[in-house]
C-alpha cells in the first residue's frame, strides 16, 4: 500500500480518507512556537465533489489513492454508459451517469476530455474548456443586429441551453466556454 507523509502534501495530491479517494486542494503547515506541528488541509472528495477540512499531525502517513488524470476521447453512449477511449492505447472504459454529471450537456463525440480514473473506473469527467456545438433550436436570427444588446435562449445539439445574441440562427456552430456555460463566438462553417 503506497502512502504519503504530510511532508509530501501539496495541492493535487490524491489520498484516501474514510475509504473515499480525495484530492488535496490546499495544504497549510501550522506550528505554534514551541508547539506541535500540524498540516491543515482542504480536501475535495472525488466521489461526492464535497469539500472538507482535516488536520493531520505533521509526519503522519496517509494512504495514497490510486487516482490518475488522463485525457480521453469521448466515443459514444448507449444511453446507460458513456464510453471513453485512451488515444494512445485505444483502450475503452465506461462512465456511469454519476461520473458524467454536468459534463453530459457538453459532450460531443470525439471531444478530448480530462478523465479521472480510480481503481480502473471513471470517477469524474471534465469536458474541454471550449466546445463547438451546433444550434438545434432557437428563434429566427435578427439580420443585421450585431450590436450585442439583448439575448435569447438557444438549445444546442447536446441538449444544453445557452444564452446567445439575437442574431444567431438555427444550424450555426457556436463556441461555448464549458466552465461558465457562456457563449463565446460564432464559428465560421
Amino acid at each position: 500500500m503506497a502512502t504519503y507523509t504530510t511532508n509530501e502534501f501539496r495541492s493535487g495530491l490524491k489520498i484516501m480518507i474514510d475509504a473515499d479517494p480525495c484530492s488535496i486542494v490546499e495544504n497549510e503547515f501550522v506550528k505554534p512556537g514551541k508547539g506541535q506541528a500540524f498540516n491543515r488541509v482542504k480536501i475535495r472528495n472525488l466521489k461526492t465533489g464535497r469539500m472538507l477540512e482535516k488536520t493531520y499531525k505533521s509526519g503522519e502517513s496517509v494512504e495514497a489513492a490510486d487516482v490518475t488524470d488522463i485525457d480521453m476521447q469521448y466515443v459514444y453512449t448507449d444511453g446507460e454508459f458513456w464510453y471513453f477511449m485512451d488515444p494512445n492505447s485505444f483502450e475503452q472504459i465506461s462512465a456511469d451517469k454519476d461520473a458524467i454529471a454536468d459534463a453530459l450537456k457538453w459532450l460531443k463525440e470525439q471531444d478530448l476530455c480530462a478523465v479521472t480514473i480510480w481503481n480502473g473506473a471513471i470517477l469524474n469527467v471534465t469536458p474541454p474548456n471550449f466546445v463547438e456545438l451546433k444550434v438545434a433550436e432557437t428563434d429566427p436570427g435578427l439580420r443585421g443586429d450585431t450590436s450585442g444588446g439583448g439575448n435569447k435562449p438557444a438549445t444546442l445539439e447536446t441538449g444544453a441551453v445557452v444564452k446567445v445574441p439575437l442574431f444567431i440562427d438555427q444550424g450555426e456552430i457556436l463556441k461555448i466556454d464549458t466552465r461558465t456555460g457562456d457563449y463565446v463566438s460564432r464559428v465560421k462553417g
Binding site: G35, Y56, K57, S58
Partner: protein, 324 residues
C-alpha cells in the same frame, strides 16, 4: 527540458529593505550596549525539544561518519556564553528546522536572539515590541498594543479556560468549530485551538503580547506559582495573527533543567521518536551558573514580510526551500 527557475523569489525592493533591517537591528543593539556574538551553526547535539526536528549531516571522523546537527536555535550555545561572560548579548543567524515548510515557515530562516542579564521578561517583551515597531514604522502605523495572559486570550477568543478544563472539552470545542483534530494530547488540542481558531480572530494591525503560559508549555522558561496553579514566565508577540517573537524568563536552576529534559525525552520515547542525547557541555555551563536573565527570539523574515504586506515569508527570502 524545461529550464529550472533560477531567479530569486525576492524583488530588489525586498532585498533593500532586508539589508536596511539588518543594519537597523545592529544599531538598536549598539545603542543599548548589547554585544553581537556568533555561535556555531553546526552542533554535536540535536534539540531535546520534542517538537523540534534537527537537520543532520555526516562528518568523517576517525571512528567513521559522525552525525552533526544544524542548530535549530542558538540558545544552548548563547547560554554557555552567558554563563561565562554574564553580559547581555545578541545574535543574528540562520537556524534550521526539519519539516517546517509552509506559508510562514522555511526549513532555514533568519533568527534574531538576545539575552538581557538581570532583566525581567516583561521588560524584555516591551523592548522586543519597541524594536518591532521601530522596524515597521516607515511602512505601517500600528495601533496601540494589547496584552493578554494565555488564560485571558483563550477566554476572550475561544470562551474556555485553558488552565482548568478537560481534554474531552477541548476536543469537543474543536469539533464544534468544524476542526477535525487528530489524536493528540491536552497541549496539542490547546495549540490547535490557538492556530485554527484564535490566531485568525486576533485583532489586526496591532502587536498582541501573550504572557504566562501553562506550566506544560514552559520549555526553558522559569515557572511561578499563582493562586490556583503554576504558570510559565514566557511571552509571545503576534502581529496580524502571526507569531513574531517568543521569550522567557530563563530557567537558571540546573536540577529543574535536567528534569525538564528528562520529561521531553520520556515524551519522545512514548512517541517512539529518535532519542537525542543531553548536551553535557550545556548542562555543565548551567551548573556553573547561568546569570538571572530574560531571552527572546524573533523571526526576522516574518517581521520583514509583515512590514511589506506579504502573506507569507517566501516572498522575502531570496531562494526559499523550493528554489535551492
Amino acid at each position: 527540458m524545461v529550464n529550472p527557475t533560477w531567479e530569486p523569489r525576492t524583488s530588489l525592493h525586498v532585498l533593500e529593505v532586508r539589508a536596511l533591517f539588518l543594519t537597523l537591528i545592529r544599531q538598536f543593539f549598539i545603542a543599548r550596549d548589547i554585544l553581537e556574538v556568533e555561535t556555531p551553526a553546526l552542533g554535536s547535539h540535536a534539540s531535546i525539544d520534542a517538537n523540534v526536528s534537527c537537520i543532520s549531516c555526516l562528518y568523517p571522523a576517525v571512528a567513521g561518519l559522525t552525525k552533526y546537527y544544524l542548530q535549530p536555535s542558538p540558545e544552548y550555545a548563547m547560554k554557555r556564553l552567558l554563563a561565562h561572560e554574564s553580559r547581555s548579548i545578541y545574535q543574528l543567524c540562520k537556524v534550521f528546522r526539519e519539516g517546517e515548510w509552509g506559508r510562514w515557515h522555511n526549513p532555514e530562516f533568519t533568527m534574531l536572539e538576545w539575552y538581557r542579564v538581570e532583566w525581567d521578561y516583561q521588560a524584555l517583551a516591551a523592548e522586543t515590541e519597541q524594536l518591532i515597531k521601530d522596524l515597521l514604522q516607515p511602512y505601517r502605523q500600528l495601533d496601540a498594543s494589547e496584552v493578554y495572559t494565555y488564560q485571558s486570550l483563550f477566554q476572550t477568543y475561544a470562551d474556555i479556560n485553558p488552565l482548568s478544563t478537560s481534554t474531552q472539552a477541548l476536543k469537543k470545542l474543536l469539533q464544534a468549530h468544524d476542526i477535525n483534530p487528530p489524536e493528540t494530547d491536552y497541549d496539542g488540542f490547546l495549540q490547535l485551538l490557538q492556530t485554527h481558531l484564535i490566531e485568525p480572530k486576533l485583532p489586526r494591525n496591532k502587536l498582541i503580547r501573550v504572557i504566562d503560559y501553562p506550566e506544560s508549555q514552559a520549555a526553558l522558561a522559569r515557572t511561578r506559582k499563582t493562586a490556583k496553579t503554576r504558570v510559565a514566565e514566557r511571552f509571545e508577540i503576534f502581529l496580524d495573527g502571526v507569531e513574531l517573537a517568543n521569550g522567557y524568563q530563563e530557567l537558571t536552576d540546573v536540577v529543574e533543567q535536567r528534569a525538564r529534559f528528562q520529561r521531553e525525552l520520556d515524551g519522545r520515547s512514548a512517541q517512539s521518536n529518535p532519542l537525542p542525547v543531553i548536551d553535557e557541555r550545556f548542562m555543565a555551563a548551567m551548573a556553573s551558573g547561568l546569570p538571572e536573565c530574560a531571552g527572546v527570539a524573533v523571526g526576522v523574515d516574518r517581521v520583514l514580510a509583515l512590514a511589506l504586506g506579504h502573506t507569507g515569508i517566501h516572498e522575502v527570502i531570496t531562494f526559499p526551500f523550493d528554489r535551492i
